[in-house]
Amino acid sequence: MVRVLIVEDERKLAQVLSSALEAEHYDVVVAATGEDGFYRANAELFDLVVLDLMLPGRSGLEILQTLRQRHVDAPVLILTARDGVDDRVLGLDLGADDYLVKPFALPELLARIRALLRRGRPSEVLRLKVADLELDLVSRRVVRGDRLVDLTGREFELLEYLVRHQGHLVSREMLARDVWKEPRRATPLDNVIDVQMARLRRKVDSDGALRLIHTVRGVGFVVREGEL
C-alpha cells in the first residue's frame, strides 16, 4: 500500500485531503504541525509527502530543506496559498517535486500524486482503450465499436488526455494546462474547453451507445464505463 504523509495545520483541509486520499486507497498519515511532520518524515518511510508551506512553528520550506539534506528522497508536493513565482521557484529549488496553489481542485491533486508516484516507471503505450473506444496513438485513429471517429487534432489530444486519466476526474485547470498548454485558466479558454468538449462528446457518444464522457458539475469531466 502506498503511504502518504500530509503535513497540514488547517484541520478541515487536512481532513478533506486525507478522506480523498483514503478513497483512492492510499495509506494516509496526517501531521498537524511542522514539528510533527518533520519528525514523522524523518523517522518513518513514506512514498510521498504533501507539505503545506505555511505552518506554525516550523515552515514548510525549512522542513523540506532539512529533509533533503538528510537524504529523505520521497517525492514532495507542496501546497501554498501564495502563487508568486518566487515561492514556487524557491520550493522547487529546495527539492520539492511539484506544487499546487490553494484553492486547488481535488482531482488535480490526485492526478499530480499519481504522476509523482508513477515517475521513473515509464509506461510507453501505443494504444488506449476504454469500453469499445480505442485510440491508436501512433496513427491517431479513433474507433468506437466498428465506427471510425473523425477528430480534429485538438479533439484527439483532449480525448487522449481523458482516456489516460480514465476513471479519474479531470478538472478544467488540468485541461487548460496539459492540453491547451496555457498557464492560466482565463474565461475565453474556459468557454473554448466547453465547446470542444461538447463537440468531442457529439462525435464519441453520439449514436445512442453507452456514454463514456461524463460531466461532473462544478468539478470537471471523467471518462469511464457506465454512469457515475
Binding site: 491547451w180 482565463a186 475565453p188 463537440r199 462544478g218
Partner: protein, 370 residues
Amino acid sequence: MTRWWRTASIRVRLTAWYTAVLALMLVVYASVTFVAVRHEFYEQLEEEEHVEAAHSQQSAEQRVEQQLAEILLVLVLGLPVIVVLAGGGGYVLARRALSPIDRLAADARRITAERLHERLSVPNEHDEIGRLAAVINETFARLESSFDQLRRFTADASHELRTPLSVIRGIGELGLGETRRPAEYKEAIGSMLEEVDRLTRLVDTLLRLSRGDAGTVRLSPEPLDLAELARDVAASLGVLAEERQQRLVVNAVAGVPVVADRLVMREAIANVVDNAIKYGPSPSTIVITVNGSETQAVLEVTDEGPGISPQHRTRIFDRFYRVDEGRSRERGGTGLGLAIAKWAVEANGGHIALVSGPAGSTFQIVLPRE
C-alpha cells in the same frame, strides 16, 4: 535671525523688504538733497562775499551753518517717521494682497476625502491667485474622480463576490432543509462548486490586477511576431466563433515584430477577441488586422455589432464595467476581461483604445517598436 525669517509669514517678509529698500532709497535721496542744498548755500555765500566785502562775513557764515543744521535735523527726524509710516502702509497692502491665499488655504482645508466634490472659489480667474485656485481645483477634480473610481471598484468587487457567496449559502441551506434524493444532493453540491469556481477565478483576477497596480508583476519581454500571435489567438478561439456562426478573419502583413511578454500580450488579444465574439451578432464576421509602421505595431479587432455608445466608451476598460448589466454574468464573464487587456497592453508599453467606426466596434492595440 534666519530662523525667525523663515517662520515669518510672507506679508511680514514683504513688509520688511519693502521697508528696508524704501529706507535705503530715502537715505540716498536725503543725502543727495542735503549735499546739493549745502553746495547751493555756500555758492550764494561766496557771491555775497564779493558784494559786501569782508564785513559781517562771520555772521553770514554762521547763519548758513545754522540753517543747514536745521535742514539736517528735519531730515534725520523725519526720515524714520516716513519709513515707519510707509512700512505700516506696506504691511496693510501686503496683507490685502495676500489675504486671498489665506482664504484659499482655509477653503482647501475644508475639502476632505468625504467632501471632494467641493471646489475653491475663484474670485478672479485672471490674476495669480485665480490661476493658483484653478490649478488646485483641477487637482481636486482628478482626486475626486480617482476616489470615485476606487469607491465604485470596491463596491463592485464586493457585489461580485457576494453574489456567488449568497448562491452557495442558499443552496447549502436549502440542501440541508429536508432529506432529499442523492441525485438532488449531487446537483446541489455541483452547483455550489460552480460558484466556488467563479469565486476562485474572480479572486485570482483581482489579485493579478492589484499586482499590476502595485507594479510587482515581472514581465519577460521577448521578440515576437504580433501577426503570428494574432493567428495563434484566432486558432484557439476559432471554435467559439464557429459556435456563434461567426467568421474570424486575420488580416496581417507578413511579420510584425515587437518586443513584449508573450503570455501577457496573448491574454490581452484573447480577451479583446473573446469580447468581440460575445457581443458580435451571429452570423457576422470579426476581423483581426495587424499592421506595422516604423515606430509602432497596430492590432485591431473589429466586429459587426451595434457598436458602443459614447456614454460607455470611456468606461469600457473600467473594472467590472458592463455595457449590459444582466447579460455578462450568465456567460461566465468576470467583467474584468477588458480591464486585464488594458493592464496587459500598458504593462508592455503600449496602449489600447476603442475607436468606433460607422458600424461595429474596433478595439485598437498599439505597441511601440524599438
